[in-house]
Amino acid sequence: MIPATMLTNALLVGAVLFCLGLVGILTRRNLIVMFLSAELMLQGVSVTLVAWSRYHGDWGGQVLVVFVLTVAACEAAVALVFVLQAFASTGRLDASAWQALREENLPRVIDHELPADDRVVPTWPHLSPAGVVPEGDDSRSLERDHV
């Protein structure tokens, strides 16, 4: 059993995590980040369930969190397969790529102004050449200098 202050502490943390996940899933357009936000909401609910479980000295909440973990694993597997299929058909991880499925009375999402790509391209160190120049430069086209 835990004291009541510990219960409300944990409930506050759970509420914060849930609300952050809610904002993320409402605003972000990347499908993967949307799923991460949903997982964030699940984490908030898990903290709440465990806190109540410990407060009441009842194992039911913790058992429920075990099943939340199970269902989250299933959901992630199936959802990521669909995300991969969506990416294969549109070439984007953009939720707005599927806006043909929206309601009739909703306006179309149009990106009027896109922000400038203000990434700072890192300056890689230049090594003095040594040894034989390897032939073929195909592999370098597969590399990415950032994520």
């Binding site: 409300t8 609300c19 913790q62 058992v63 992630a76 991880l93």
Partner: protein
């Protein structure tokens, strides 16, 4: 006690309103937008810190934030990383911040005394689910930072909605701690009731029923912070909830088969298209 008048008159209500406004402004500044600058992001981080402290102070004045330093540390890690998860532009960094959130949540669960779930969160979430997310990101992320990662849908409305919801939840949690424990809490919990029911049954010689002897000590203690926490949770899981465990196993199998079926069907149609193209 009228909750509305409490919220508007008392200093904790003002503090709560200020925290909600700061959180909404912080989220709006931090979420990806076309008009982002470095200065606005810094202001957003500052406002987010102010909002965090404000919420903690509100909870304190409502009497529901303790002084457990370990709890505050891990909770801070979880909350700050959660904020970073939803505002980071790069999805890979977002996933890594989410791993940090999981570490914080695992710490919170450990402080609460749920040892098995604390470890399971790391092993299952950070070890399996998050790695799956990263795999998909590597497979599907187009090169360069995609334009849809740098804009977001209705950031102002969503930030306001999330902040207001958090304010309402904080208010209700504060009222929960201020109020008398409801009738359900004053009643002996189910664990104690079962322990009381099991106590006379001990004398009635039910030694052959293994589930009873396994579960009864767990229930009688009612304390999940003990050394045998995992054993007790396992006894509960595989005792009372055995059928649900079996259903969960079937669910995992169905998800596995379904995922493979969808992928292989997609590949089959692709090869069909290629064949038709020839």
């Amino acid at each position: 006690m009228d909750p509305v008048s409490t919220a508007t008159v008392s200093p904790s209500g003002l503090l709560l309103a200020g925290s909600v406004a700061a959180l909404a402004a912080s989220l709006w500044l931090l979420l990806p937008k076309a008009s982002d600058t470095v200065a606005s992001r810094r202001l957003g981080f500052l406002l987010g810190a102010v909002a965090l402290v404000g919420f903690a102070a509100t909870g304190r004045s409502l009497g529901c934030v303790g002084e457990d330093a370990v709890f505050l540390t891990v909770a801070g890690i979880a909350v700050i990383s959660g904020l970073a998860t939803i505002v980071t532009r790069s999805p890979v960094y977002s996933a890594i911040w989410f791993a940090m959130t999981l570490a914080g949540v695992s710490g919170v669960l450990l402080v609460l005394g749920a040892q098995f779930l604390g470890v399971a969160t790391i092993v299952v979430y950070a070890g399996a689910i998050l790695v799956m997310f990263l795999f998909v990101l590597m497979l599907a992320q187009p090169s360069g930072m995609a334009p849809y990662d740098r804009v977001s849908n209705e950031p102002m409305l969503a930030a306001a909605a999330g902040a207001v919801l958090l304010g309402l939840l904080t208010l209700s949690i504060g009222r929960l701690s201020a109020a008398e424990p409801p009738a359900c809490c004053r009643m002996p919990s189910r664990a104690q009731a079962l322990a009381a029911a099991a106590a006379p049954a001990d004398g009635a010689a039910t030694k052959d029923d293994e589930s009873t002897t396994l579960i009864a000590p767990a229930m009688a203690g009612g304390d999940t912070g003990d050394a045998n926490e995992v054993a007790h949770l396992g006894a509960e899981l595989f005792g009372r909830h055995l059928f649900a465990v079996e259903v969960a196993g079937v669910l995992l199998l169905v998800a596995l088969v379904g995922a493979i079926a969808v992928v292989s069907r997609g590949e089959a149609t692709e090869t069909d298209h290629r064949r038709e193209g020839r």
